[in-house]
């Protein structure tokens, strides 16, 4: 049943050397217009008494609101060297006030102050150096683990490797199919519109084939895998950090690098090129669909033109890039996961960071490789 709230009131009176504060009514979080300490503080500053006496003048209900008022009043009185007496207040309030003010010094620490801007620059530089060190350390460790893997000395569960291969290979086929088909279709559509102005829409097949095999197949597959698998690796390894699973491996004498990282890296490095070959075929199929359905090319014309425009060198370029992208995605995902701190938020940050790092690395390396292949005439 709804119970009306009696308005909280505070009556202040001076009795000799004492300031008497009488509290009445309901002191609840839900109460409106609760009296504040302002008037009491004015009185205390104007003519400091020896004692502040807080009395129960008819408190009907109370919660933390009343406790907060007393807590703040007590702090103020303590600063001014004034004694605070709350003897007639409800027992629960007095006990809670005592509890709130009985922090043992051993537990009381002061948080470090915010660093100044110069200190922040210094700290950021140190963080950057630390990150660079961790990256190089990770690459070194991973390289050694790969060598041990190929020598047959690495300790890992082959079953995990197969599961990871399945996870980042066959199970990624639907999304790779959809994206590649649409990208091929878009390439054909945009290209054919331009080429049609010169009556050269037959060359749309060349555009789609070369564009897909050398660039878009590998690039789109890599971006899908960065979002799908790279982030998952970071989240998995990050959660394992939080749950101390990685510590458990270390104490068993198992290298997390061999046991967790290398299988993930190998699975991705192996699967990205294979998925890229698949994406190339689907992309060209998408381009073919648009060309035949909209731009009046025959299937035979499209296939013939595609065959003439693409050779094995182009396929090699695409697959090589895909392998590089695979290394970059796997490294970013695993590195961020292994660097993850021990909180839920850190896991999210690791996953986000893995995707961002992967995509930036993919685009930058693609640009560099394209320039390199052009210079080499490949």
């Amino acid at each position: 049943m709804y119970e009306p709230i009696a308005a909280a009131r505070m009556v202040i009176a001076r009795e000799g050397d004492r300031l008497v504060v009488r509290l009445q009514g309901d002191w609840l979080i839900t109460s409106t217009d609760l009296p504040t300490l302002d008037e009491v503080i004015v009185q205390l500053k104007k003519q400091p008494p020896q004692v502040v006496l807080v009395e129960d003048g008819g408190i009907s209900k109370w919660d933390s609101t009343l406790l907060l008022l007393l807590y703040q009043l007590r702090d103020f009185c303590q600063q001014k060297g004034i004694e605070l007496e709350c003897g007639s207040l409800p027992q629960g309030v007095r006990r809670l006030l005592k509890l709130a003010t009985s922090v043992s010094p051993a537990q009381h620490e002061v948080h470090e102050e915010e660093p100044g801007w110069l200190e922040q620059v210094g700290l950021s530089t140190l963080n950057l150096c630390q990150e660079a060190y961790e990256f190089i350390h990770f690459i070194g460790d991973a390289t050694l683990a790969v060598v041990r893997f190929f020598k047959g000395q690495a300790r890992y569960r082959p079953r995990d490797l197969w599961l990871l291969i399945q996870e980042c290979g066959p199970t990624a086929l639907p999304i790779v199919t959809l994206i590649s088909l649409l990208v091929g279709l878009i390439l054909a559509y945009v290209g054919a519109l331009q080429l049609a102005m010169f009556g050269a829409q037959i060359y749309v097949a060349d555009l789609v084939a070369i564009g897909t095999v050398r660039e878009m197949g590998a690039m789109m597959t890599a971006i899908i895998m960065a979002g799908r698998t790279g982030s998952a690796y970071a989240a998995q390894l990050g959660t394992m950090q939080v749950n101390e699973e990685i510590d458990a491996l270390k104490t068993l004498g198992l290298s997390p690098m061999e046991f967790l990282v290398i299988p993930r890296m190998l699975a991705l490095i192996l699967m990205v090129p294979l998925l890229t070959l698949y994406a190339d075929l689907v992309g060209m199929l998408g381009g073919g669909l648009a060309s035949v359905a909209i731009f009046d090319l025959t299937v035979l014309e499209y296939l013939n033109e595609t065959q003439q425009s693409v050779d094995m060198t182009d396929v090699f370029v695409g697959v090589f890039k895909a392998a590089v992208f695979g290394i970059l995605i796997a490294t970013s995902g695993c590195l961020r996961g292994m660097q993850c701190k021990r909180s839920a938020q850190a896991v999210g940050e690791a996953a986000t960071s893995a995707v961002v790092t992967s995509i930036v690395a993919i685009v930058v390396s693609d640009a560099l490789l394209t320039i390199l292949f052009t210079k080499l005439g490949i």
Binding site: D63, L67, L68, Y71, R95, L99, H111
Partner: protein, 250 residues
């Protein structure tokens, strides 16, 4: 006798077809420190999750005052839950927030107080659990015991009528566990709250429990009920005796 605050009537808990506990009948009086005890895997934490509205019972009722929780409108259920504070086993603090922000969140959501007052109340709650000065710390910067106390500060943020604790002493050293027990009793006495604790820590059970229920994993129902000291003196079942005497070693 104090009025019943929570009544559990014919409660059956199940995950799909798998029954965890059945035919649970007991009541928790206002001001009780009520212990839910039993061996590992008997369904203690599951019962707690049924009591705090996280899992719907397969059968039976959980009655708060005179309101059947699961038969009530969602709005009424939310109102009931606002009067409840829960301390989870791990503290369950939100890792992206400071301790003060963790405590402030329910105050900001469910009161019309201005931000400065919410911040002051959050500091007060942290001071109540001995964490004065730790307002700006993140959960990962403090120890497990401190995380539990910060979780308790969040649980009492809204001055709840009922406080639920899931294994409060788990993972704490005996002295910290004793301090936490003392704090629970102090908060019960000061706030006038009802306290429900899931635990199998015998020292805590005997030190602070005023009433209890004993769940058995084998028979999948309760096999003991009453004040823990009374159950120890006159065990209603050999399993209860074995549990309360640590396999007969006490």
């Amino acid at each position: 006798m104090a009025e019943p605050h929570i009544i559990v009537r014919d409660l059956t808990m199940a995950y799909g077809d798998r029954i965890i506990q059945k035919d649970l009948n007991f009541s928790i009086s206002r001001g009780d420190i009520f212990i839910i005890m039993g061996g590992s895997g008997c369904g203690k934490s599951t019962l707690l999750r049924h009591l705090i509205g996280l899992i719907r019972p397969a059968k039976g009722q959980v009655i708060y005052g005179d309101i059947d929780f699961w038969a009530a409108e969602p709005g009424i259920r939310t109102q009931i839950l606002r009067r409840v504070g829960v301390l989870y086993q791990s503290g369950a603090l939100w890792s992206s927030m400071t301790l003060a922000e963790n405590v402030s969140l329910p105050l900001g959501e469910y009161s019309n107080l201005e931000p400065a007052k919410i911040a002051a109340l959050a500091s007060l709650k942290l001071a109540l659990v001995g964490l004065k000065g730790f307002e700006d710390y993140y959960p990962f910067e403090i120890s497990g015991g401190m995380q539990k106390r910060a979780g308790l500060a969040r649980a009492i943020a809204m001055d709840p009528d009922i406080l639920f604790f899931d294994e409060p002493s788990a993972g704490l050293d005996p002295i910290s566990a004793k301090h936490l027990d003392d704090l629970i009793v102090e908060l019960r006495d000061s706030l006038g709250a009802t306290v429900v604790i899931v635990t199998h820590e015998l020292p805590s059970i005997m030190a602070i429990g005023t009433n209890s229920v004993f769940l058995d994993a084998e028979s999948k129902t309760m096999i003991g009920q009453g004040p823990p000291k009374q159950l120890l003196a006159a065990p209603p079942n050999p399993k209860v005796h074995e549990f309360l005497t640590r396999g007969g070693t006490l």
